[in-house]
Every structure is written in structure tokens, then in C-alpha cells.
């Protein structure tokens, strides 16, 4: 793919995400306004995407729900990066006992499948925004620790560090000047891919009744609510599904592009795509 096309695509995806974050401002109606007189309506001028079983405007709910779904993912990922990256950085750079302990913890988290950890955790903690955040954090930090540690280990053996050491560069200087530039790109790529994965996870949790609670509009929960009315009003289920699909596909496409751009070693790429 040409460089220009990629750039256009990247900008388009970023604009899409930004728009979604502003969703509630764009919503034409109150997403929680119940109007039983206008329930299960097909798309019309008044309700561009129709109404749900309580007569609520679906477009408004999708736009408002974006902030919950996408916002939750972004927040959870930012926290994962805040925890995972420094751990990986220190673990890789310092090595020794600290590294050993961190890696054993990482091993346990990798051995347990992320969906299962997230389902059990959010099931135990109960539904709600903060509990979802904890559940996602618990499965996502480990990927960043692993990735960053392996990048640091790889860079650590590079010859140019001998020059920095001879010049008497401090650890902090070497980390800042030489390690961080190698880490930013891959971490960004992984995070972008993860946006999609986390949105799917959030929606799945909501679908099995462990996510954000109604009436707050969340895409997975909307989809689950729509199940019962599928025969009468298919849009109740189809629209949230399509919304999830588009955002996830866009995010993983963007992540792929970034992955290629920051030529991660093929082994790291395999691990990240397996973990993500």
C-alpha cells in the first residue's frame, strides 16, 4: 500500500475515534428518554436509525454508548500502558532477581486466557464501570510488560550502547535517549490493535450480563437487549453489531499499519498478535 494511502487511512481512523469520543454532543436526542408510544420504529427522519423496545432513539444511544465503550477501552489501555511499560522497562534493563519475579507473574497471567480472567473477575466483582476497568487492566498490562521487556533486551545487546557506556552516560540518559525511542512506536502499535480487542471484550462482557448495567447505553448490552426483538426490529441488534465491527476493524487495521511501520521483529509481532 502506498505511503499516502496509509496516511489518509490513519487520519481517517483517528478522526473516527475522536468523533466517537464526542458522541454525546452529537446525539440528536436524550439516549435514555423512554417513549413507549414510539417503540420499535423503523428508521425515519425523526429517528434516523429507528427506536428500540422502549422507544429510545437508537442513533443517540449508539453515539452516547460510543463514549462508554470506546472511552472505557482507551482508559483501560492507558492504565495498562502506565503499569506495563515501566515494569517491562525496569525488568529488562535491571534484570536479575527483579526481572525473575516480574517474569514469573507475567507467566501466570499469560497462561490464563484473557477472556476467562476478565469474565471471572468481572463476574466476582459485579457489574459496573470501575470493575470492568479492573478486569481489562488485569488482562492487558501483561502484553505491554512483555513487549517492552523484549525490546529492551534486544536493544541492550546493541553495540552502540558500549559507546554510551564508555562516554559515561547515566542509566537514565541511556533509557531516555536510546530505549524510549525504540519503545514508543511498538507500544503505540500494540495499543492501537488492543483498542479493537478491548472493545470486543467489553461488548462480550456486557453481552453475557457482566458489563456496564442498563440503562446506560453500551453497545454490547444494547445488542443483547435487542435479541428478543430480532424478528420485529432487526436493527436493534444489527446496528450495535455493525458499530462494534467498524470501530474494531478500523482500529486493528490502524494497528497493523503501525506494526509494519515500526518493524517489530517477527517474533515480537507473532507474540503480540497472539496476545492481543
Amino acid at each position: 500500500m502506498s505511503k499516502r494511502k496509509t496516511t489518509i487511512g490513519v487520519v481517517a481512523v483517528l478522526v473516527l475515534l475522536a468523533l466517537l469520543m464526542m458522541g454525546p454532543l452529537l446525539a440528536p436526542q436524550d439516549p435514555e428518554l423512554v417513549n413507549l408510544a414510539a417503540r420499535l420504529q423503523s428508521p425515519s427522519v425523526a429517528h434516523l436509525l429507528g427506536t428500540d423496545n422502549l422507544g429510545r432513539d437508537i442513533l443517540s444511544r449508539i453515539l452516547t454508548g460510543a463514549q462508554v465503550t470506546v472511552g472505557l477501552s482507551l482508559l483501560a489501555l492507558s492504565l495498562s500502558i502506565l503499569i506495563g511499560v515501566p515494569l517491562g522497562l525496569i525488568s529488562g534493563w535491571v534484570g536479575g532477581r527483579f526481572d525473575w519475579i516480574v517474569m514469573r507473574i507475567v507467566d501466570v497471567f499469560i497462561a490464563l486466557p484473557d477472556y476467562i480472567v476478565a469474565i471471572v473477575l468481572s463476574g466476582l466483582l459485579g457489574p459496573g464501570f470501575v470493575n470492568m476497568l479492573i478486569a481489562i487492566l488485569a488482562v492487558k498490562w501483561v502484553g505491554y510488560t512483555r513487549l517492552v521487556r523484549s525490546l529492551v533486551l534486544q536493544e541492550k545487546t546493541r553495540d552502540y550502547l558500549m559507546i554510551s557506556k564508555l562516554a559515561g552516560g547515566s542509566n537514565l540518559r541511556i533509557l531516555r535517549q536510546h530505549m524510549i525511542p525504540h519503545i514508543v512506536g511498538p507500544v503505540l502499535a500494540l495499543a492501537t490493535m488492543d483498542i479493537g480487542k478491548v472493545i470486543l471484550l467489553v461488548a462480550s462482557l456486557s453481552f453475557i450480563g457482566m458489563g456496564v448495567q442498563p440503562p446506560s447505553p453500551e453497545w454490547g448490552a444494547m445488542l443483547n437487549d435487542g435479541r428478543a426483538y430480532f424478528a420485529q426490529a432487526a436493527q436493534l441488534m444489527i446496528i450495535p453489531g455493525i458499530a462494534i465491527f467498524i470501530v474494531v476493524a478500523a482500529a486493528s487495521w490502524l494497528g497493523d499499519q503501525l506494526m509494519k511501520r515500526y518493524t517489530i521483529s517477527s517474533e515480537d509481532e507473532r507474540m503480540t498478535s497472539a496476545l492481543a
Binding site: 501466570v108 486466557p113 465491527f245
Partner: protein
Amino acid sequence: MIRWLLQGLGFFFVLTIIGFLIVQLAPGDAVLSMLKVDTVAVTDAEIEALRENLGLNDPALQQYGRFLGGVLRGDFGNSLMTGKPVMTELAKAFPYTLMLAGATMVLAVVITFVLGGLAARFQGSLIDKAVGVFCTAGAALPTFWFGLLLIDMFAVRLHLLPSSGMATPAGLVLPTVALAVAIAPPYIKILRNSLIEASGREFVRAARARGVSEPVIFFKHTLRDSLIPLVTILGVSLGSLLGGAVIVEVTFGIPGVGKLAVEALARRDYGVIQAFVIIVGMAIFVINMLVDLSYRLLDPSISLKGAERV
């Protein structure tokens, strides 16, 4: 061998500790939720009596010892939902999950080899691009939504296949398709890339320069080289198969382990949850060992390294 045993033991203990902590750290009182099942008003005295009875007032270490002993005997207590032993419930559910996972694996491998092979063979062509789109789309489809659409299409509208349950083998078709489409994309991408990478390797050129025929080069040299990266990620990603199985079981109403666990979570049936975590954890450990073994079989330099390496 010994290293595996030690790792397995270590992991087992970590799992039992996690299982134990599930009850300890769960918000709300486990006893309360046990009694609530009967929806009869309970007094504080009754709660206290039950606590004493269950040994919940003993020191944590003693409680853990008792729990571990139970686990080793395969005893997780009785399920709150049915009153039957937890192990019986799980044993009943396990075959369904195993069947779903097995069938999905087979289908995913077939899809991977067909699509990955085609994409690599016709690198850069329309076929390659179509496979790329399939991968992005497959990975972006919410599994439960895709499952519901499949049900609507093939069960409700066309009446071709059952919509839920696994009473007949036909019931396995839709869940398998839904799950395989979700987990195959990373495999396809990896196989495609590693096939392309392998066919450009110097040793492939060397074999060709010796006059070895193309089929032998492909099946003996190229394919073997590209299987190695595929196998390395297999262990890690089998977890996603089990995780996906939970969602699919709920979507299609399959009475497997995943559905059981989700119901247990909703009902705070802790014995079932503990058993679920420990058994799934150990299953994944065993799978990883098998993956490790096949990795060693595929690449002799792993097992022979150090021994005779010059």
C-alpha cells in the same frame, strides 16, 4: 521432563492460591450468598453458626490447607445451583466444551492452511488482498453477534440447522463456524508471512541449486520452516479458543464448561468457579507442554542445542 513437572507443580499451586483467593476476596459475604439461595430471612446467629461449621473462622493458612486437600482429592464441595458435587457437574459439561474446541481447532486449521497457503502462493494478488480483508473482518466480528446472525440465517429463516444446544452433531456446525472465524485470522496471517519468508530462505535456494524437485522443496523444506512460528503461538492463543468458547456456549446455549461458569458467576456458586479456574488453567498448561514438545520435534536445534553444538 523434570523441568516440566516442576513447572506444572508450581503452576498448580499458583492456581489453587488463586482459586482460594476467589472466595476470600470476593465482595459480599460468601456465606450470605449461600444462604440467600433459600430466600429465607436469616439471623446473624445462623450465619455465625454456618461460618463456624464451614471453618471460615479458622486462620487463612489452615483454610487453604483444607481447600488444597479437597482439590487434591478432586472435591470442590457441592454446587449451590444443583446441590450435586461440583466435579459431577463439570464432568457432565466437559465433553461439550471439548467437542466444540476440537471441532473448532480442526476447522481453524483447515481454513488457515487453505487461506494462508493461497495468500502466500498468490502474494500481492487479489486473492491475497481478499484473505487480508477476511482476516481483518474475522478478527473484528463480535463472536456473539456473528453467532446470532448465523442462528437467524440458518436456523430461524432457512431451518437448516438447529439454533441451540448440541443434541445432534448438526448443532455443532454453527458454533464451530462462529468460533473458528474468530480465532483463525492470526494463524492465517502468520502462516502466510512465514511461508513467504521461508520460500526466500537461503537453504531453500541451496536445495533448489542441488536440483531437488519443487514439491519436495515445498513440503520438506519450506513448509516445515513455516510451521515453527505457527506452533510457537499456538500455545498462547489456545487460551483465546477457550475464552471464545465461553462466549459461544452462552450464545448457542451449549451446556459446556463455559456456560456453567458464567451461570455459576451470576449465582456466586464459588465451588464451581474455583474448579473451573483450576481445571482450565491446568488444561492450558498441559496443552502448552504438548505444543512445546511438537516444537522440539519440528526444530531439532532446540533439543540438541548445547549438547553437541560447535
